[in-house]
């Protein structure tokens, strides 16, 4: 998380830390047996991590791998249309992990709501993105074991698209923005999600409830001026999410 703050205890209880073969990712609790994350966290360049390799930690704001107890997966369900062998196509970047054991919720662990019926992404509305990914201190990228958060607004889809187009002129292999994605961030930079936050939640709040509007997916740099974080648009996947959970 760039430009954010340490998350106080109990403030983002749906945050999940994924550790897959040493790599770090994020996820969010959406049910007592289900974690939602990004497909690319589990499936990297065509190789899917085994369910045994996926270790999940939750209820923590200060991660200590020596003391934390992982939760294990019973099954992994990657969106069937996710196809990103070369890291340039993050369309349908969504996955569900079913847990071996049911969770009991408390102040530390609580699910985030799925998008309510008719949920919309209104430009400028502030959302809360969180994770254990890298942060930046004095211009240097720093790994952190503390959960951080930052509030960034939903960005106009066209604004974001322009930003990405501009990036493509100076960089190679910049992924494309699809309607299954939306952007959040500030044009001046300084507030963003970053590596290690992938799969984590971007939450919007309606009527006092946080709902999972986006999944941290990708972006050009982190927190740079004129760039935004790109998130999987969860509302587009409600049918798949419900179907997957019901069938499993």
């Amino acid at each position: 998380i760039i430009g954010g703050s340490d998350a106080p205890d109990y403030t983002i209880p749906w945050q999940v830390l994924l550790n897959i073969d040493g790599g770090r990712g994020g996820g969010m609790v959406i049910g007592d047996r289900w974690i939602m994350t990004a497909a690319h966290v589990i499936l990297k360049k065509g190789n899917q991590a085994s369910k045994e390799a996926v270790r999940m930690y939750m209820g923590l704001t200060n991660f200590n791998s020596l003391t934390a107890s992982p939760v294990y997966a019973a099954s992994i369900h990657i969106h069937p249309e996710y196809n990103n062998p070369t890291d340039v196509n993050f369309n349908n970047d969504i996955a569900l992990i079913k847990l071996q054991d049911s969770l009991t919720f408390n102040s530390s662990v609580m699910p985030i709501c799925l998008p309510p019926e008719g949920a919309t992404y209104i430009t400028g509305v502030m959302g809360l993105v969180s994770g254990f990914g890298i942060t930046e201190i004095d211009g240097r990228s720093i790994s952190t074991n503390k959960m951080k958060y930052v509030q960034v607004p939903v960005v106009e889809q066209e604004t974001c698209s322009n930003s990405i187009t501009l990036s493509k002129k100076t960089r190679d292999s910049v992924p494309s923005l699809s309607n299954n994605m939306f952007c959040a961030g500030v044009p001046e930079g300084g507030k963003d999600s970053c590596q290690g936050d992938s799969g984590g939640p971007y939450a919007l709040r309606d009527n006092g409830r946080f709902w999972a509007a986006g999944i941290v997916s990708w972006g050009v740099d982190c927190g740079k001026q004129g760039t935004y974080g790109v998130y999987t648009r969860v509302t587009n996947y409600m049918d798949w999410i419900n179907k997957t959970m019901q069938e499993n």
């Binding site: 403030t11 983002i12 959406i30 009991t104 102040s107 609580m110 699910p111 799925l114 809360l128 409830r209």
Partner: protein, 439 residues
């Protein structure tokens, strides 16, 4: 010659002198042997008799005999001055035989114009019962009752006696009587007359177990007694009433015992008299009733049906518990209960108890719990309320879910739902919100 078919004795017929109604020949000697079945007499009636008259019927005569006994010797005619005409009176034979002998002589044959006789005979039933007692000292034909029949007679006996094998004399008979009908009538031999001899009779009234006998002596009761200060004593004549498992009771005197409730299904009556004294005897009607069982006690929280003022042998009663209660017998629950009044006057099963039912522990609620609102130990009408572990869970579809233990032993909500509720996670509402005050 050939034999005639055996048609048996004729019951009637006509006898006529030879050549009748022409004059009979002279020098005749003719005989007719009449017979009818045993038990009958022969009545002979002359329709005409015209035989040469002579003093003492010396020349021509018709002689009527029973064996060798001459019943009559006849001659002459109806208006003749001499001779012996039978007139219109019939002749009755003492037994079932009769012989007629007709004779004529040979005197004055040219003047002989008498036509002889014509007579009818018929069998007449003999009334053996009115016959005088034989003089041989063998006694009357029947010792007690004689009944005349056609051609014979029957002997019969008074009540309390039976005919001996000789079919004419009677013997006292009062034993061997087992009275197994539900009601009946008994009396002493010869009642209301005293028996001629000493009697020792036994009567057993034995009805089905479960019934009790009631004796109802008629007012005309007389058994010789000896009055003492302690009341009538029965030293020589008595009627002993014996009931099972009880001391025998001797009855005598001139006062009827009236009604006796024996409370027993078997009663033995022994009537004894000796040759001394005089007892006219006794008579009774007996009836029976089903034995009673005690009134069933009340069953707490239950009902006994049917409700009757009295319960008798073979009556059934049923016990049902009030709603919310179950039938218990010997610590075991039973589906239903009935008991029958037995022949010994006891119910065959003791009454059960009604215990309040319980619905068992309410189903536990995952991520929630159950709170007792009222009631005791999950018993009928206990009320529990389910709740979820707030604020992390909430009840699916309900604010407060109250379940009541119903009579079907299920916990049911007001909406008649049996299954326990579900706690669903509360999402997106952290217990602590991020708050920043810096601007």
């Amino acid at each position: 010659c050939w034999p005639l078919p055996d048609t048996g004795p004729l019951m009637h017929g006509v006898i006529q002198s030879p050549q009748y109604p022409q004059p009979y020949p002279s020098n005749l000697q003719e005989q007719w042997d009449l017979s009818v079945p045993e038990g009958y007499q022969i009545r002979l009636t002359f329709t005409h008799l015209d035989i040469e008259a002579s003093a003492g019927c010396f020349y021509d005569a018709l002689t009527v005999l029973y064996d060798t006994k001459i019943l009559g010797k006849f001659c002459g005619h109806e208006n003749s001055a001499d001779g012996h005409h039978p007139g219109n009176q019939p002749i009755l034979s003492p037994g079932n035989r009769l012989t007629l002998m007709f004779q004529s002589d040979d005197n004055n044959p040219e003047r002989h114009q008498n036509v002889g006789f014509s007579a009818q005979y018929q069998a007449i039933d003999m009334d053996e019962c009115s016959a005088p007692e034989p003089e041989d000292g063998s006694g009357p034909l029947c010792s007690q009752i004689c009944l005349n029949t056609l051609g014979s007679y029957l002997c019969s006996c008074h009540h309390g006696y039976e005919l001996r094998p000789d079919q004419r004399s009677c013997v006292l008979s009062c034993d061997g009587g087992i009275f197994d009908e539900t009601e009946g009538h008994l009396f002493s031999p010869g009642y209301p007359n005293p028996p001629h001899h000493a009697v020792s009779c036994q009567y057993i009234i034995s009805v089905e177990s479960g019934f009790a006998v009631v004796l109802n002596f008629t007012d005309n009761f007389h058994i010789e007694s000896m009055d003492t200060e302690q009341g009538p004593n029965c030293p020589h004549h008595w009627l002993q009433v014996t009931l099972s498992d009880r001391e025998p009771m001797k009855l005598c005197g001139g006062k009827s015992p009236g009604l006796i409730h024996t409370n027993s299904n078997t009663v033995t009556l022994d009537y004894h008299t000796d040759n001394e004294g005089l007892s006219k005897g006794w008579s009774l009607d007996y009836s029976t009733y089903r034995v009673k069982c005690p009134l069933p006690s009340n069953v707490t929280k239950g009902k006994v049906t049917p409700i009757l003022t009295e319960y008798f042998y073979r009556d059934y009663i049923y016990v049902r518990c009030d709603q919310g209660y179950k039938l218990m017998m010997d610590g075991q629950e039973v589906e239903g209960f009935s008991t029958m009044c037995q022949s010994n006057g006891q119910w065959h099963l003791p009454l059960p108890e009604c215990h309040i039912i319980d619905c068992g522990e309410p189903e536990p609620l995952l991520n929630g719990g159950v709170t007792f609102l009222s009631g005791f130990q999950n018993q009928y009408r206990s009320i529990v309320q389910y709740h979820c572990n707030e604020p992390f869970y909430s009840l699916l579809g309900g604010i407060n879910v109250v379940f009541t233990c119903e009579a079907d032993r299920k916990w049911r909500s007001n909406n008649d739902i049996v299954v326990s509720p579900t706690c669903i996670p509360v999402c997106g509402q952290p217990t602590k919100l991020i708050s920043t005050y810096q601007r």
